[in-house]
């Protein structure tokens, strides 16, 4: 790990260098697991694959453990090394990133639970046409935010922020459609609520991807872009 430095810029203290490297590895492993959980939860939902939904739910404790372990490593680095500048931004990024990743995993689990509930219904409705697009966008946003982190690419992270509005618009359109459907056909309410919840969870995943992207921008160039225009 060399934060904003080139590959040759290594820490004079090699133990410190190893600790920062280990933290980075842990973040990447955790992000990889969470990315797979989103993809699996969405596929389980789309294809009514109950086995895949259960497997997704079973992965969650692994993410919880990863969060606790990464937090502990961050605290150890803060206490023992008093990191500065890029290293400080990296460790504070890690603290926030693991929280966002853990919540994304929880939301993926919630999508998987809705997939199970829908599969359990006698006549589940066909998936809403925009659902696939929302899932695709939310997954891609998380992937891109992580990629921006790996490449230390603030421009790539900024591109993630711009996609959040599209997800919000799609979700609100889907919500209006579902509401109209449920008002018109009361028998669709049970399924409609499940579909709406799954879409909401995906929309929340996109929000956390936005957080991740904002954190990456601060890590890379020290610019705080959170709550622009709202503070």
């Amino acid at each position: 790990m060399s934060s904003v430095h080139g590959p040759n810029k290594r820490h004079i203290d090699r133990d410190y260098e190893r600790e920062l490297g280990e933290l980075r590895e842990r973040l990447l492993r955790m992000a990889g697991v969470v990315e797979s959980m989103i993809a699996d939860a969405v596929r389980a939902y789309m294809t009514r694959d109950t086995a895949l939904a259960r497997r997704t739910i079973d992965v969650d404790p692994q993410v919880n453990r990863a969060e606790v372990e990464a937090d502990a490593l961050c605290l150890q680095i803060l206490a023992r090394r008093q990191p500065m500048a890029g290293d400080l931004r990296f460790v504070t990024l890690a603290l926030k990133m693991v929280t966002d990743l853990e919540r994304i995993a929880d939301l993926a689990v919630s999508v998987a639970h809705r997939a199970l509930a829908l599969a359990d219904m006698d006549a589940p409705p066909p998936p809403h046409p925009d659902m696939e697009r929302i899932a695709e966008l939310a997954g891609a946003m998380v992937r891109e935010a992580i990629d921006a982190f790996v490449r230390r690419d603030a421009a790539r992270a900024r591109a993630v922020l711009e996609r959040d509005d599209e997800v919000d618009d799609l979700y609100h359109g889907l919500f209006r459609d579902l509401l109209a459907e449920m008002r018109g056909h009361r028998t669709t309410i049970d399924a409609g609520i499940l579909v709406q919840a799954a879409a909401k969870f995906l929309e929340r995943i996109a929000d956390h991807a936005t957080n991740l992207a904002e954190e990456v921008i601060f890590f890379v160039d020290g610019t705080d872009v959170r709550h622009r225009g709202k503070r």
Binding site: S2, S3, V4, H5, G6, N8, K9, R10, H11, I12, D13, Y16, Q82, P83, M84, A85, G86, D87, L88, R89, D221, G222, T223
Partner: protein, 257 residues
């Protein structure tokens, strides 16, 4: 070089300084604001001490030392022909790395020594001056019952605060501190840092330190010197979280190329 908009105590322009044929500072320009703590950091030999020794003209006490450039205190040329260096040093006090109370003097006489060197101590005022300086240096409560004891009977941290009291007794405008805590334990260091927090309301303080956490804790502004050049000067909160220059980043994170 960008400097924040504040009342300038020291205006330094193109300061070049050295010893004999060795140039230590290669043209440093910065405005040191009044009544704030400015930290100067950088690796050994980068010119930190030379820079602050130019500020009160202690640099020229070394026989081969020389200096060029402009250095103004409150707008007046520090190196002007009419300036008496002794009187300047009264305005710009200095505290050194190792506490250096005068070994043969009592605590009281140590506090008064600066005043006695630069002029007469007003009759009947000595006790008030001693108490005030020791109070400002947060030492009064610890020594008020033994003012006649030798200065060297105090602990290292107390001796350093005695040296600060000695500097404050002459009522300076600026306090220069050259690694004031490097010989002190963490508790004594915390006391000095706490003291600086109180003194910055009244004095312009410039502190040279190798301890970057200390610079981050006590200062409003930080200057990073590298091999005689000023690399970066700005708000401490920015410099230690998101420095503007990659050389600053490498130094404060402890990296090499």
């Amino acid at each position: 070089m960008k400097s924040p908009p504040e009342i300038t105590a020291f205006g330094v322009q193109g300061l070049v300084a050295g010893f004999g044929d060795k140039e230590v500072l290669h043209g440093v320009s910065l405005n040191i604001p009044a009544r704030k703590v400015t930290a100067v950091i950088g690796p050994s030999g980068c010119g930190k001490s030379t820079l602050i020794r130019c500020l009160n003209r202690m640099h020229e006490l070394v026989p081969s030392a020389w200096v060029r450039g402009t250095l103004r205190l409150d707008g007046s040329d520090v190196y002007g022909d009419e300036v008496d260096p002794v009187m300047l040093r009264r305005r710009v006090g200095m505290v050194f790395q190792k506490p250096n109370p005068f070994p043969t003097m009592s605590i009281r006489d140590n506090v008064l020594s600066g005043l006695r060197l630069t002029g007469r101590v007003p009759r009947g005022e000595t006790e008030r001056i001693v108490q005030k300086a020791l109070e400002q240096a947060a030492l009064w409560d610890e020594v008020k019952d033994r003012l006649d004891d030798p200065g060297t009977s105090l602990s290292g941290g107390q001796q350093q605060r005695l040296c600060i009291a000695r500097s404050l007794a002459v009522d300076p405008e600026v306090l220069l501190l050259d690694e004031p805590c490097s010989a002190l334990d963490p508790v004594a260091t915390a006391r000095i840092e706490d003291l600086l927090g109180a003194l910055r309301e009244r004095y312009t303080i410039v502190i040279v330190t190798h301890n970057m956490q200390q610079a981050a804790r006590v200062s409003s502004l930080t200057a990073f010197l590298l091999a005689g050049d000023l690399v970066e000067f700005g708000p401490t909160s920015d410099l230690f979280t998101a420095p503007g220059d990659p050389r600053t980043e490498d130094y404060i994170t402890g990296r090499f190329g």
